[in-house]
């Protein structure tokens, strides 16, 4: 797994300098990726009267920030829901995943080779295949429609990926360190508290970024298991944009608000983000 860094250290001598054709192709690709960003920003900053189909690409005559104020008013409670959901579910699934990873990588017991793949399979299933019993279960215990039901759901279905990342992360910690601590008299929790946990900081960063992003962006559970008051931002945005009557400045401003948290994480902590996504492909 140890995700290789994407940076190559130093360029070997004799390696050909890229030609202008390379840069031309890269610039074209960059345009394809940035075109929607331009359109979103321009549309969200136009006065509603200026938004029409034929003038889609024109710059606004004057910058109008009112769409953001309106979108913020409508979306602030939903953003708060998303924030609580993502923080609590991420923290819980990261802590449990860390413990599972520690056990599966350092405490070999019979059957571990069966338990681990069975856990892992849980992160690939289409969640439609568990949605009806989950819906029924949450109704029966009275958590349907509440944020806590959604949090529970994300903790459980987050366990496979967090366990996987931590297990592979801890596999790099030499067994001799564990052995030495054991000889010094450390028990199961002592080893975790004194050796494993202090060495896990970057593992936690990778897992927390990954889980936060996934949970923030998730839609299927959110749309089936919540009510109006407990909706996360993705559901609110889908509803706003799905209505035909609205002007496009509002959905675009809403899309920016919904995207900002994960986008900031990606730009600030990109290195860890990439390690998470490489980990998601099991082998990396």
């Amino acid at each position: 797994m140890s995700a290789r860094p994407l940076r190559r250290s130093g360029r070997a001598p004799g390696r050909r300098r890229p030609q202008w054709g390379t840069y031309l192709l890269l610039a074209l690709a960059a345009a394809f990726f940035l075109l929607p960003v331009y359109l979103v920003l321009v549309t969200s900053l136009k006065p509603p009267a200026e938004i029409n189909l034929s003038g889609t690409w024109l710059l606004p005559t004057h910058w109008n920030w009112a769409s953001y104020a309106t979108a913020w008013q409508a979306f602030a409670p939903k953003l708060l829901n998303s924030l609580i959901l993502a923080i609590v579910a991420t923290a819980a699934s990261a802590l449990m995943g860390s413990m599972n990873g520690y056990i599966l990588s350092k405490w070999h017991f019979p059957g571990a080779n069966i338990v681990f793949p069975l856990m892992l399979f849980g992160m690939f299933i289409p969640y439609q295949s568990i949605l009806i019993p989950l819906f029924q279960f949450l109704r029966n215990i009275g958590l349907y429609g509440s944020l806590w039901g959604l949090i529970l759901t994300h903790v459980v279905y987050g366990l496979p990926i967090t366990t996987l990342i931590f297990r592979n992360f801890y596999a790099e910690i030499p067994d001799e360190m564990i052995e030495a601590a054991r000889i010094d008299g450390a028990d199961f929790f002592g080893i975790y508290g004194r050796i494993i946990f202090p060495l896990s900081i970057s593992g936690f960063v990778v897992v927390i970024i990954w889980q936060f992003t996934q949970i923030w962006n998730e839609f299927l559970f959110a749309v089936t298991l919540t009510r109006q008051s407990t909706q996360p931002i993705t559901v609110a945005l889908a509803q706003l944009a799905g209505g035909e009557a609205v002007k496009w400045n509002l959905p675009m401003a809403g899309a920016v608000l919904a995207a900002l948290p994960t986008l900031i994480i990606y730009i600030v902590l990109g290195r860890y983000f990439i390690r998470g996504l490489l980990a998601g492909s099991v082998k990396g």
Partner: protein
């Protein structure tokens, strides 16, 4: 003694997670399968009961999905998923590999380009869908881009098109599948012969012949439906595929780039010393080494594509039949129409498709790990 006590604690500490997965994944899948064998939803008074009375009706929901005139939409959804998956994979792999190769040539500002290509992966499918829905408005968005340089606007109905191409009769499906299986086996046999493997290729040839024989006799006459039913590739999907490629090709690029960075520089040097051109270097040295990454990427992207739900929901809404997919139909059947048994049957079909891709992948990944 101490070690055994600690090992016991380890097992006890793993138990909560293992139990949660056992119940929420496997228990619930089992329950969904059971629900798919019942009539839940047919009796409206029972549909939303907390403890509904369910009647066992066997495989009726499944036979309905594949051979009942009401379920045309589900069959079109399967065809949609097939075409979506093929084009989405082709787009992501081609663009991802292309960008990775370009970035691997030692360009300046590589970090900036990487950030630009990968940022859509951090967005929600709902956000991507909302943005691209606006990009693909029939009288606006990219259709009016040509007018900026004085050309007439494009007229393609990206999301609204009702045109369907590559149409075929559902009743020919057994024949088509049989021939496809035969072709794949024949290809495998041909490659086996070239590699000089013992008995394997001969068996593959025999199986290919058998599949072909079946397709041309029984398969040709097996008509799941009593009437012809046309399905094809709906062009309204092209816009959704572009948005999906926009979101996921950066991820593919990151996978390929990690692979390219793992290829030792000496190997490239050796090929250059031997007089290989850049093209030959990529074609005969680097691309073969990236094979395993392509396979991983195809599996990861393929299972995402089978499950695609939010993007379609955000781009064409849940009720646009031409751009429907099974994951969306399951949601509509279960949570809009309260036809839980039918929804469960669709979910099980979806699960089987995803499992067919993922289980061999997990098996080979983890087996390789143990060997290491």
């Amino acid at each position: 003694m101490k070690i055994t006590r600690d090992r016991l604690i380890a097992i006890v500490m793993l138990l909560p997670s293992a139990a949660l997965i056992a119940i929420f994944v496997y228990g619930f899948i089992g329950r969904t399968f059971y629900v798919s064998l019942t009539n839940w939803g047919q009796d409206a008074t029972q549909a939303l009961a907390l403890h509904p009375k369910l009647k066992f009706i066997g495989l009726a929901n499944y036979t309905g999905l594949f051979g009942n005139f009401i379920e045309t939409r589900f069959r079109q959804d399967l065809v949609n998923t097939f075409f979506f998956t093929i084009l989405f994979l082709a787009g992501c792999l081609a663009l991802g590999l292309g960008l990775a190769v370009l970035l691997d040539r030692g360009v300046k500002a590589e970090g900036l380009f990487r950030t630009i290509f990968l940022f859509p992966f951090a967005l929600a499918f709902i956000v991507t869908g909302t943005i691209w829905r606006w990009m693909l408005q029939p009288q606006g968005g990219i259709n009016v881009l040509p007018t900026l340089v004085g050309l007439p606007p494009a007229r393609f109905g990206w999301l609204t098109s009702r045109v369907s191409v590559l149409r075929f009769d559902w009743n020919h499906l057994p024949l088509i599948l049989g021939v496809a299986v035969a072709a794949i086996l024949a290809l495998a046999a041909w490659r086996g012969y070239r590699a000089g493997r013992g008995l394997g290729p001969s068996i593959a040839v025999a199986l290919a012949a058998l599949a072909l024989l079946w397709a041309l006799t029984l398969g040709r006459n097996a008509h799941p439906l009593p009437y012809p039913e046309q399905h094809g590739f709906n062009l309204a999907f092209i816009g959704i595929i572009i948005a999906a490629v926009w979101q996921m090709s950066g991820y593919t690029m990151a996978l390929y780039l990690a692979g390219l960075r793992g290829i030792p520089e000496e190997l490239r040097e050796a090929a250059r010393v031997d007089g290989a051109t850049e093209w030959q270097l990529y074609r005969f040295v680097i691309l073969p080494l990236l094979g395993p990454i392509s396979l991983s990427a195809m599996i990861i992207l393929g299972h995402i594509s089978l499950k695609i739900f939010d993007l379609v929901f955000a781009m064409t809404g849940p009720d646009n039949a031409p751009t429907d997919v099974p994951a969306l139909l399951m949601y509509l059947r279960s949570f809009r129409a309260n036809q839980f048994a039918q929804g469960a049957a669709i979910a099980m079909v979806l699960l089987v498709m995803v499992a067919a891709v993922i289980i061999p992948y997990l098996y080979s990944s983890l087996r390789g790990e143990v060997r290491r």
